[in-house]
């Protein structure tokens, strides 16, 4: 994130914060969707996170660590929302790209659906560890800082989350021929 913008926002410049929010809202929404798997909850978590970020920005000691700090706030907001997951109207996210993806043919929709189903079996904590590592591309150390958890916990969640994901995908693969027979 542009350091000057962060410094201006930290000094109370709302226009600078608006610019930051416009730049990060897409990425934050993706992270929240990946953790919560619910469009409305994700929208609420992103709003909460950005409002908290604005309110607490003066307390940011190291502006160069703004992104990690913001991710930490978002993950916390996601966990709060996940705990309150009593909403009646939930919406499944439709993965319809807003632009033509350059590599749309590289992977089948079936494979994507399999991953979607497998991720649904993980806890929000495991999904947060995976999204920090494989979407935000943070190192384990930075991921642990972003999620506000010890490094050992971060490692264990990424490893365990990956293992669970593989196990569910393998089980899904084994079931697939059976399904095909049933519907033949």
């Amino acid at each position: 994130m542009d350091l000057e913008l962060v410094l201006r926002a930290r000094a109370g410049d709302h226009a600078a914060f608006s610019e930051i929010a416009a730049r990060v809202i897409g990425r934050l929404t993706t992270v929240a969707r990946a953790i919560l798997r619910d469009e409305y909850l994700a929208q609420d978590a992103v709003q909460d996170a950005l409002v908290d970020a604005w309110r607490d920005l003066r307390g940011l000691r190291d502006p160069e660590r703004f992104d990690a700090w913001l991710h930490r706030i978002l993950v916390r907001a996601c966990h709060v929302r996940a705990r309150r997951e009593w909403r009646r109207d939930r919406v499944e996210i439709t993965l319809t790209p807003s632009v033509d993806p350059p590599d749309a043919t590289s992977r089948s929709a079936e494979s994507r659906d399999q991953i979607e189903r497998a991720l649904a079996r993980l806890s929000p904590e495991h999904r947060a560890a995976l999204v920090a590592t494989y979407f935000l591309d943070l190192t384990l150390k930075d991921g642990a800082a972003a999620l506000d958890i010890p490094l050992s916990t971060m490692k264990s969640r990424v490893r365990r989350g990956s293992e669970l994901l593989r196990a569910v995908l393998e089980a899904d693969e084994r079931l697939d021929p059976v399904r095909q027979e049933q519907f033949a």
Partner: protein, 193 residues
Amino acid sequence: MTERIEPVAGLREYYRDLARVAPAEHQLAIVLARTADLAQRPAWRMRLPRLSSLEELGRLFPLRYALVAVATFLVALSVGVVGNRSGSPFEGRWTSTDVGDGSTQILDISGGVAPAVRFEDRMASGCADHGDPSVDFIAHGTAIAAGDRLVVDYRDGGGCTTWHVPAFTVTMTLDRSTGTMRDPDGNVWHRAP
């Protein structure tokens, strides 16, 4: 720390696909409305423990203090100290005449900083144009009040009987000098008598 754990095949592509779904259009508007008049907290406040949930609150406060707080609130409510504190300039019933087709529109807004909103257009030309047997268009939403602006998020959209529109967001702007509100379509809203 450079240690990496090999990702599951296809996981990164899954996230990339997820990132292609644009955030809802109203998201940014709501965030900006919620923060526009929100004061930043002084830096020293961030060193205090964060109360992100009732569980944490429960751990920090013994039950007896919580009960005293609840009892105090109920007493305050009963004597009207809290109940009369709303003071939202948006609260109440508003009406306007649609500049597009001359129909009467009604807006009911509850109190507080995040009020519930009910919008009704009693002669909606959109419904008539789409062959809906009813022309009474109704939408329910929730709003965020920020200064002179009220951003209303109609999350479930709205409609008549058979014709419905998807989710939409409307920002109402209060004109304190005239006591009226204006919406983005140029409609002027007056308080209902």
